[in-house]
């Protein structure tokens, strides 16, 4: 590639001998991936034809690499890979060949060359408790993020850690982990939450940026509406069972075998916004609910601290029965005291009884 930055996606594909039919097919798949309706395909085609190649810098902080795994775990060439082929991934710890100073140099060069235009992808949360908890080349995550983001066009926070603090932030949050949005206030930040996020969703967001050059419409958590606009519950194929009141009570009962609703088994689908029900996992094979396990709510803030995974959403986080028994014990004690007060007050009133006779029924004036 002579000067990849000047080439549009259409040119790249044509150079690879892709026919217009093939391009249309690619656009159909891309629109589907971006969760856009088929009627948007011509617009996607027109935009993709002219899409230029953006520079992407991928920063990994307090994370488990699950997000990268999710993205790269495909066994066969995929649409995602095509999109990825088109972007210029100039820095990524795990994937890049360069290491050490060379790697950091690549990042700095990309930042310099594309100032104001590059995308920053972040996975992992940022520790504020002690900068030493997580560093790259001796530089704290906070510093790296601030530096890198300064010249970026936008930031994509991939995974629940980057988006909401994630598992590092779970109680009692020993590292003082925070999300990207807690630090970056002056740049658009798109949260692509999930633990890990659905690969198609990560790519879909990139594709959207690639296609339209803008950020998609976001929900109140900064997540793209077209993937996070509906809850798992609302798109769940088992929803009719919820409505009919048919639930699995254990993982091996009749209800479980018949594929009934997993609400009672702790499915957090009603409070979870993600595209699992339609995008599915493992190349469209299945997704948690289809495999018989409730949704953990991994794309939601604080999902780790939201009570037991196997407790229904309606069950409070704490141990209610314990609270009730303690309160009952306290109530008995205080109640006995209140009862004592009342008995005493009434006994006193009886003692103070002034006998009424017919001669003192009239008020003395």
């Amino acid at each position: 590639m002579a000067d990849p930055r000047t080439k549009t996606l259409g040119e790249t594909l044509r150079r690879h001998g892709v026919s217009r039919r093939g391009f249309l097919k690619f656009c159909t798949a891309t629109a589907s991936m971006m969760a856009l309706p088929p009627s948007m395909v011509p617009a996607v085609a027109a935009a993709l034809d002219k899409a230029s190649r953006p520079s992407v810098i991928w920063l990994s902080f307090q994370e488990c690499t699950g997000c990268t795994e999710s993205l790269t775990r495909s066994h066969s060439p995929t649409l995602e890979s095509l999109i990825f082929d088109h972007i210029s991934l100039d820095y990524h710890h795990t994937l890049q060949v360069a290491s050490g100073h060379a790697a950091e140099k690549a990042r700095e060069e990309a930042m310099h060359a594309n100032h104001g235009n590059y995308l920053v992808v972040v996975d992992g949360s940022i520790p504020l408790g002690n900068p030493g908890y997580s560093t790259t080349a001796g530089v704290s995550n906070l510093q790296t993020l601030e530096e890198t983001v300064a010249g970026a066009a936008a930031v994509i926070a991939v995974g629940t850690c980057a988006a909401f603090g994630g598992l590092p932030k779970a109680y009692p949050n020993p590292t003082g982990a925070v999300a990207v949005r807690d630090i970056v206030h002056d740049k658009p930040v798109i949260n692509v939450s999930g633990c890990p996020p659905i690969p198609m969703v990560i790519t879909g967001v990139l594709a959207h940026y690639l296609t339209f050059g803008t950020l998609p419409q976001l929900d109140q958590y900064g997540r793209p509406m077209n993937f996070y606009g509906t809850s798992i519950h609302d798109r769940c194929y088992r929803r009719p069972f919820y409505d009919k009141g048919l639930f699995a009570d254990t993982f091996d009962d009749e209800g479980a075998r018949k594929g009934w609703c997993l609400y009672k088994l702790g499915c957090k689908g009603p409070m979870t916004y993600n595209a699992c029900a339609t995008a599915k996992w493992n190349e469209g094979t299945s997704w948690p609910v289809e495999s018989g396990h409730g949704c953990l709510g991994c794309s939601e803030p604080n999902f780790w601290d939201a009570g037991g995974f196997y407790n229904a959403l309606s069950i409070p986080v704490g141990e209610v029965s314990r609270s009730v028994s303690y309160a009952a014990a306290a109530g008995l004690a205080v109640g006995a005291a209140a009862a004592g007060l009342n008995s005493r007050a009434k006994a006193k009133a009886k003692k103070n009884h002034g006998t009424v006779t017919v001669d003192d029924l009239e008020k003395k004036s």
């Binding site: 909401f164 999300a179 949005r181 807690d182 929900d219 109140q220 958590y221 809850s231 609302d234 919820y242 409505d243 009919k244 009141g245 639930f247 609400y263 009672k264 009603p270 409070m271 916004y273 939601e300 803030p301 604080n302 601290d305 939201a306 009570g307 407790n311 229904a312 959403l313 309606s314 069950i315 409070p316 986080v317 704490g318 209610v320 029965s321 609270s323 009730v324 303690y326 309160a327 009952a328 306290a330 109530g331 008995l332 205080v334 109640g335 006995a336 209140a338 009862a339 004592g340 009342n342 008995s343 009434k346």
Partner: protein, 220 residues
């Protein structure tokens, strides 16, 4: 930045524990306060027993006398509709049953959601009807105090927020679910110190009425 989820977690966590504790302690105090006032031993020769008629009145007072029903059908029908709507929504909605099961260790079968949904709508309509009645009926107007409106609101909010949450009419869901739980917590906290106590004390009241009349040989 995670306001609604933090709010939901708080409502499902600390706030719920505090509300339940106040509720349980408060209800026990109130019941103790009542019973501790005692009832004088009745020395008059009885014509009938106390216990049976008392229990019977607990049941029979659920139905209105025909004459007063004809005079104030809205009080009775509105009362039935909202109580049944409320009780069905509270006790027969499966997510609620899960909560009771987690609290008390036993559960019971629920109803399909569309039925509970219809009951909740009836409950809301019934509550609006009784509110309207309270605002227009001269007897209720003279009896009504601020507390009556407070109690109405405390009852109405859980139904309303529950309906909104179930139909996902407010986004995001964690926010409205949190509001729903918070409205219930508000209800729990104020329950022991308001007329909501009638939920428990009406059994005492009806029993006393039935027993005192039963002793005189009158079915009340």
């Amino acid at each position: 930045m995670n306001e609604s989820m933090d709010f939901l977690l708080w409502a499902r966590g600390t706030a719920f524990d505090v509300a339940v504790a106040i509720f349980v302690i408060g209800v026990i105090i109130r019941l103790f306060e009542i019973v501790s006032l005692g009832r004088a031993n009745n020395l008059a020769e009885p014509k009938g027993s106390e216990f049976g008629p008392g229990m019977k009145t607990i049941v029979t007072r659920t139905l209105p006398e025909a004459g007063v029903f004809k005079r104030q059908p809205l009080t009775v029908i509105g009362g039935y509709v909202f109580h049944f709507g409320l009780l069905i929504s509270l006790f027969l909605f499966i997510p609620h049953i899960e909560l009771f099961a987690a609290t008390f260790g036993f559960s019971w079968p629920g109803l399909p959601n569309p039925i509970v949904d219809a009951a909740a709508v009836l409950g809301i309509v019934g509550l609006l009807a009784v509110l309207w009645h309270r605002l227009t009926n001269p007897v209720m107007k003279i009896l009504t105090e601020k507390e009556d409106y407070l109690v109405w609101l405390l009852t109405f909010l859980p139904l309303l927020t529950g309906y909104l949450a179930y139909h996902r009419l407010v986004n995001p869901y964690p926010f409205i679910l949190g509001l729903h739980i918070l409205s219930v917590e508000l209800l729990l906290v104020l329950f022991p110190f308001t007329k909501l106590m009638h939920t428990f004390t009406l059994f005492l009241a009806r029993w006393y009425n039935g027993a005192m009349n039963g002793r005189r040989g009158v079915e009340s």
